[in-house]
Amino acid sequence: MKDMLVQVEPLIPALRRYARALMRDRAAADDLVQDCLERAVSRWHQRRDGSVRAWLFTILHNLAVTQFRQATARGRHMPIDDAGEQELVSAAAQEQRLTYQDVLSKLAKLPDEQRTVLLLVAVEDLSYADAAAVLNVPIGTVMSRLSRARERLQQEVDGVAPGNVVALRSLK
């Protein structure tokens, strides 16, 4: 179990980041990570050779997907503006913070399958092969989803003039 501590502990911050980016709710995200870590501890000896990072993200991702399905089944939808962006960017400077909030709300508009792949590849720095393993899809699917995610996010960015975002925010 010593090697587990050494290999898993440094990855917990990244797991939190991914969970929060998906859930957009601090408590729910941390619950998910806790669940993930407990599973990782109990299944440590069952894992196959390969990246511990990809293995952990797989566990976390599957837990998140299960949550999404349950939330969808209950008909609950979390509005973007209620998602506690305050917590997401508490350390950022005011101006930068608006940019960050902006990109996160645009990210939130992407379909789950595009959002997850973009987060895994662009933020969590997983290789395409690892992302494919986490999402349980072929690499070709990872590439096409990644392409669609980036195009879609860019459309969102291009569609709104930067000034409007600030104006909308200040109305709140």
Partner: protein, 257 residues
């Protein structure tokens, strides 16, 4: 120069710095020549920077106690009682299930215990008697070994009946599976090639001593009885009248002295 065409995948791999240096240089020179594509790629790079920037602070927050891996490992160690509870519950379920199973055989084994045995003998006959290549596992020439094997598996001494007075020679035998555990099968034949099977196994509960009763399953007929805890059955494709004296002979020989 024959350069492979630049693909969308190449552009994304360029953004994600996942290209081999050689290919990366090819994509870079392509982007130099195609400003439209280059600006799209630049936008993707910016997206990534913004996303990483927006989410960076989360990874820098101090970990709450619930996410402290040492705590999680520790609390697992302190939970063996729960695991034992689960094991105990499983055992209880198992005992319940096993109890039910045992009761089932006791209940079904009542007066029908001998018919069960006769049926098992009929099935055994159906499988092995028509076998021209290997009807028995151990031949009559090694009958001492056969007796030892059967006695070990049935956990009591087993005797091989001698049917020579009835005109039947021992071919050999084997241990076979029945729904009531292992049974010893002995096979005999006569000069016409007619085969008989004797099947014996321990009987449960109140069937330890049961008078001889005629039995039949399909076209296989015979007699079954129990003496001193061992059940016997003789089956074959012969008329009951022909089988009865042979069964009596076996009973006489097998009866504990």
């Amino acid at each position: 120069m024959n350069q492979r065409p630049i693909t969308e995948d190449d552009l994304h791999a360029y953004v994600d710095q996942a290209l081999e240096p050689e290919r990366r240089a090819e994509v870079a020179s392509y982007l130099d020549d195609h400003p439209d594509v280059a600006s799209r790629v630049a936008a993707f790079v910016t997206q990534g920077e913004q996303l990483r920037g927006a989410l960076a602070s989360i990874a820098e927050e101090p970990l709450p106690a619930e996410l402290n891996l040492s705590h999680i490992l520790e609390s697992r160690k302190r939970r063996p009682l729960r695991a034992w509870g689960a094991i105990a519950a499983m055992l209880l379920l198992g005992i319940g299930g096993l109890g039910g199973w045992t009761m089932r055989s006791v209940l079904q084994d009542g007066p029908s215990g001998l018919s069960a045995l006769a049926q098992e003998a009929a099935y055994t006959y159906g499988v092995y008697a028509p076998d021209r290549v290997r009807p028995v596992e151990i031949r009559a020439s090694d009958s001492a070994e056969l007796v030892q094997w059967a006695s070990n598996r049935l956990k009591q001494p087993v005797k091989v009946p001698d049917l020579s007075v009835s005109g039947y020679r021992l071919m050999g035998g084997r241990v076979v599976a029945t729904s009531h555990g292992p049974a010893a099968m002995f096979m005999y034949d006569d000069d016409h090639g007619d085969r008989l099977v004797v099947l014996t196994r321990p009987m449960s509960g109140r069937n330890q001593d049961t008078p001889m009763m005629p039995q039949s399953t399909g076209d296989v007929a015979g007699f079954a009885w129990a003496d001193g805890g061992l059940g016997y059955t003789l089956v074959g494709q012969l008329p009951t009248d022909t089988l009865r004296p042979i069964a009596n002979e076996i009973r006489k020989q097998a009866r504990p002295i």
